[in-house]
Amino acid sequence: MGNLYKLTIFRYDPDSNKTSTSKYEVEVTESHWTLLDVFKYIKNNLDDTLTFRYSCGQGICGSCAVTVNGKSILACETQMKFLDSFDLVIEPLRGFPVIRDLVVDHSLLDEKVRRVMPWLVCKKDPESDKERFQSVDDRAKLDGLYECIICGSCVAACPTFWKNKTFLGPQALLYACRFMLDSRDEGKNERFEILADKDGIYGCHTIFNCMEVCPKELNPGKAILELRKMFMNEEF
């Protein structure tokens, strides 16, 4: 005997432009089943029109983020037994345009991150036959920033983003911070032109939902504060 889960899943059919919900009951007998396993079970056995996105199945690619009982999570790495309820309301990531059912438009994430010049700015080519020096301490500054898998969980959990769609959002700002703190980067002035306004680092209301939901335990809120501190001290 397993546990019986009752799922209410948000549906959107773009062909007819209609929203609805579907209810499914799934008995989970395998103790290690994840939410993605349950989605796949529904698709393969109950309703093959249920649409969701996934790829790696191991919490690395960031494709499968959804909202479960109000909180954004990665479906592939969340085991059913760790969810705190047998009644699950499942929606797409909040604040994102929905393509179909649980699938949201990820190009929004792409658009935001593109704006912050997410690459290492280098005025002069380094010597081609060796790597640049970077101390262990300088490299350690990137820990907690470079691991972002761009799953969108933090953006979906950000009330500021819900209100203001032009806000860069926690993900893009975290990505920006990764370069601002890189000892090899020479683009700090240019990037601050983009970051230091109300749609950038001053748009954040330090609510810290982003930190609560990040599946990689990163802290975009802290990164934003870090950026503000740099701007105050003109450390660029």
Binding site: N44, T51, I60, S63, E77, R100, H106, L120, S135
Partner: protein
């Protein structure tokens, strides 16, 4: 942008609505695809890159953990010749040595270019790129001990390499098309005009006209039940090439990684053993001493995978079960947290095991496709598998077979292969470009793609695709895995024949145009079956044991008859084999001992 007419009964009469034109079109945005894109775009070519996933960063390259091999020689003595020898010996002497030489020479440049683009490699106390030990990488032409050769960023090396390339491609202005599923090449004999794709978001077909088309779509690990690869690893590129008349090379060589998390198969990087982790059976012994007494846990993957499988079969799995332990507790919390943080995270999330306090249950897992689309050393696809160039068509990365891995790939040589030959392929396209042209699109350019969609769309059967997928994965796991023998392989062939019939009786009730993943998965299943068929026939045909192909009924390597590559041709009338010699330059084949 919707084109619902594509899906009507008279599908063949419908013209393509969306035609795109670029100088270069790259299918796949993993390490190989992005490197090529960067080189093409840097040379001023109008370059487009497409992925069936929602962002380039979702590509399976991101899952690579342990590192990228390069004999930088900055931390201790090391030379590309040593690396080349290890690669050739690791391949059980089936690698083409001219290609292995390019791989290991270019490795040094590649790693430095990554660093210059901004890759956040882990560092040594001297501020240099950190390197760790890895299976099969040793000093002094196989005579010395393990060498520090794997450059890494904690255990997220693939993630940082992929993100770094994407960042560079963005800076240069490469055009990306996402959720665009490539279905068929537009070709006429050995001439490629581009590719036809399915727009996943909206439905409908698109044609991409290109002077140069690059296939960089990765492998097909999803043909097995226990696998370390993404759900997206479904042989799409290999299938497109087969249908265009290209053979597949050395498909029987499919690597099982020794340490996949029990029982899903998620990768526990070889870096665990590189850092000093042990493998332990139910008796608590480090059993590798019975299989590779000198190299122990750092023997090449084929050897370690066979050792683990043999222990489990002999009843020495943990509590007699189908897994053994990978123990890294003795490394201590600090090393685990700084060098293997993701391993810890995955163990806790998926197995409820914290490796700081408990050993990790592991089992060999389907991992890497050594075989694939045959190319020359510059990435040009070979129409006959030997010397005839397929004009305008290129392949690189895991979907291609150049061949540098031969019968078995060394750890950290896959991120390297994809990078070196992706980059080289980009440079080749730039070099060839003056002689390439846009070929005209014919009326029936999209015929093959339409057939592919229709085949699935118009089914009126009762069998769910999942049922067929399950049969495929279970069969491959049982009969075409770490060990093989004639009886099992014949059994798998009959399963495949049965699956071909069942594919014609599928039930697809989702008829929506937008984001129809049921349709997508059914197409992917078709690709997987084609790849599995090539693997199984290839394994049956090759009556010897070499690297990842371990035949119980032919336990010895047979250089006299089999020091050659397999070429598997397939069309509607059936399949046939051809062969080509292994290119030997520096090293004479010898018995492989560790």
């Amino acid at each position: 942008m919707k084109d619902p007419k594509v899906l009507t009964e008279k599908v063949v009469d419908v013209p393509l609505r969306n035609i795109h034109k670029h100088d270069v079109v790259i299918i796949g945005t993993g390490l190989a695809g992005l490197w090529a894109a960067i080189k093409c775009k840097s040379a001023g070519l109008d370059t487009a890159c497409m992925t069936k996933l929602s962002m380039p960063q979702r590509s399976h390259s991101t899952a690579a953990q342990g590192g990228i091999a390069a004999s930088l020689g900055s931390l201790e003595e090391d030379y590309w010749e040593w690396h080349m020898f290890d690669t050739v010996k690791g391949s059980d002497f089936l690698a083409d040595q001219d290609a292995a030489e390019i791989l290991t020479r270019d490795a040094i440049t590649i790693v430095r270019e990554y660093e210059h683009m901004g890759a956040p490699f882990s560092r040594t106390p001297d501020g240099l790129i950190a390197q760790r030990k890895f299976g099969g990488h040793v000093k002094d032409f196989g005579r010395g001990g393990p060498v520090l050769r794997a450059c890494y960023a904690a255990d997220r090396t693939g993630h940082v390499l992929l993100h770094t390339l994407w960042q560079k491609a963005l800076e240069l202005g490469v055009r990306f098309y996402t959720e665009m599923f490539a279905i068929s090449l537009i070709s006429d004999g050995p001439k490629c005009a581009g590719v036809v794709t399915w727009d996943t978001k909206n439905g409908g077909l698109h044609a991409f006209k290109a002077k140069a088309t690059l296939i960089a779509t990765g492998g097909y690990g999803r043909a097995w039940k226990i696998t370390a690869t993404s759900y997206s690893y479904t042989a799409d590129g290999q299938y497109m090439a087969l249908r265009a008349g290209v053979p597949l090379e050395d498909m029987e060589f499919f690597q099982f990684h020794p340490t996949g998390l029990f029982d899903r198969g998620i990768l526990m990087t070889e870096g665990c053993r590189g850092e000093g982790g042990y493998l332990i059976n139910d008796l608590g012994e480090r059993f590798m001493k019975n299989y590779a007494p000198e190299k122990m846990e750092l023997a090449p993957r084929d050897i370690v995978s066979r050792a683990i499988t043999s222990e489990i079969e002999a009843g020495r799995g943990i509590n007699g079960g189908p897994y053994i332990y990978l123990d890294i507790r003795h490394l201590g919390a600090e090393i685990i947290n700084t060098r293997l943080p993701q391993i810890r995270e995955i163990s806790i999330k998926f197995a409820g095991v914290d490796p700081i306090h408990e050993p990790i249950p592991i089992v060999p897992t389907a991992h890497y496709s050594m075989g694939g689309i045959p190319t020359d050393v510059d990435g040009r696809v070979l129409f006959d598998g030997k010397s005839q160039i397929f004009s305008g068509l290129y392949a690189a990365g895991e979907c291609a077979c150049v061949s540098v891995h031969g019968a078995n790939r060394l750890g950290c040589n896959s991120t390297l292969d994809a990078s070196v030959f992706g980059r080289r392929c980009g440079l080749t396209i730039v070099k060839d470009f003056a002689n390439l042209e846009h070929l005209p699109l014919e009326e029936d350019s999209a015929k093959m793609a339409k057939e592919e969609i229709e085949f699935i769309w118009n089914q009126k059967g009762s069998i769910r695709p999942e049922e067929i997928r399950n049969e495929l994965q279970t069969g491959m796991q049982n009969y075409v895995a770490v060990f093989r023998e004639e009886k099992g392989l014949l059994k798998m062939i009959s399963i495949i024949e049965d699956m071909h019939k069942k594919m014609k009786e599928m039930l697809i009730s989702d008829k929506s145009l937008a984001y129809n993943t049921t349709l997508m998965e059914a197409m992917e299943l078709r690709h997987l079956i084609a790849a599995a068929e090539a693997v199984t026939y290839g394994a049956l045909n090759r009556t010897e044991s070499r690297g990842a192909q371990a035949r119980r009924d032919y336990p010895k390597r047979d250089d006299e008859n089999w020091l050659k590559h397999t070429l598997y041709f397939r069309d509607e009338s059936g399949f046939r084999f051809d062969y080509k010699d292994v290119r030997l330059t520096r090293f004479v084949p010898e018995e492989r001992k560790y």
